[in-house]
């Protein structure tokens, strides 16, 4: 979603916030089906909430009105069991990694880039752990590269 009048750094943060809103929503669905990994789901959900709130604060500090979450989101495939829930979690992490890599590329300030590098790294770690739970090859050479 693009908001007129924003610079590239602010727009990238708005996009990253949209990804974090989607992540919090998506983990709600993951939680309903990923019983075997309830602890991981709770931890990852808390991480996305914290990142969402920090991003809202950063936008407020930049005098940008942070977008609110959408009333609903389209899930890319049916989630019906632990396996599909884990695949959704992995996809959420890949999506947020892409959003934060974009912030790294478009940010002007070192502090925003630093925060985005941390967010990208954390999403890459969570994605890798979900791949391990799925029995998939655990890692990508360039996390967050679209």
């Amino acid at each position: 979603m693009s908001t007129p009048g924003l610079g590239p750094e602010q727009q990238s943060l708005v996009d990253a916030l949209a990804a974090e809103h989607a992540a919090v929503f998506g983990y709600g669905i993951v939680a309903a089906f990923a019983d075997p990994w309830a602890d991981a789901v709770a931890e990852d959900t808390a991480a996305h909430r914290a990142r969402r709130d920090a991003t809202i604060e950063a936008l407020h500090a930049a005098s940008v009105e942070p977008p609110v979450a959408a009333p609903g989101y389209t899930v890319p495939f049916p989630v019906t069991d632990p396996d599909s829930a884990a695949r959704l979690a992995e996809q959420i992490e890949n999506d947020t990694a892409v959003a934060w890599r974009s912030v790294v590329e478009r940010a002007h300030s070192e502090s925003t880039r630093g925060a985005a590098i941390t967010a990208l790294t954390e999403a890459a770690l969570r994605a890798a752990r979900w791949r391990v739970r799925l029995g998939a090859p655990p890692s990508l050479p360039f996390p967050g590269q679209p």
Partner: protein
């Protein structure tokens, strides 16, 4: 995951607006780059800041490869690490070559990096190397911008996964 409330046409429009912003960013960057080049004309062969990261990635890959024979149980993870660090070095090398300009002929280095001499490497040494590679790539990403910052951030994240999940 996509938000339900934005109709497809809106999304396309947003995408265009996004691209417009991107080109503004690229334009700004281009200007910065030109200025930087102008300032360093008399210092044309100054080393590219990415070069130390290329050397690190090649040595990490060689260290992981050397460990495969010593630790067959970890062969799959070590092979993945060697492949990923090689991919990192290749991508950074391509970026250094691109920055130097298409006119300069570029020969990819086929030299085998020297392993730190002495005893055969240990898993602990590889872990320490990768942790430092993660930090160095992140530190450099923080002070660069655009694609260079982005690719270094992805490389740093990959090294974090290598030490914390793969090994």
């Amino acid at each position: 995951m996509t938000a339900d409330r934005s109709p497809a046409s809106h999304r396309r429009l947003s995408r265009r607006t996004l691209l417009r912003w991107s080109s503004v960013a690229v334009g700004g960057l281009g200007l910065a780059t030109t200025t930087a080049c102008g300032a360093s004309d008399d210092d044309a062969d100054r080393a590219d800041p990415l070069e130390p990261q290329i050397a690190r990635a090649r040595t990490d890959a060689a260290t992981a490869t050397a460990l495969v024979a010593l630790l067959p149980d970890s062969a799959a993870a070590l092979t993945t690490i060697a492949e990923q660090r090689t991919a990192h070095a290749d991508v950074l090398e391509a970026e250094v070559a691109r920055m130097r300009g298409a006119t300069t002929s570029f020969t990819p280095s086929s030299t085998t990096p020297a392993l730190p001499s002495g005893d055969p490497p240990t898993l602990e040494q590889l872990r320490e190397r990768l942790a430092r590679s993660q930090r160095e790539a992140a530190d450099l990403a923080r002070i660069l911008s655009g694609y260079r910052a982005g690719v270094l951030a992805s490389i740093s994240a990959a090294c974090a996964v290598q030490t914390e999940v793969l090994l």
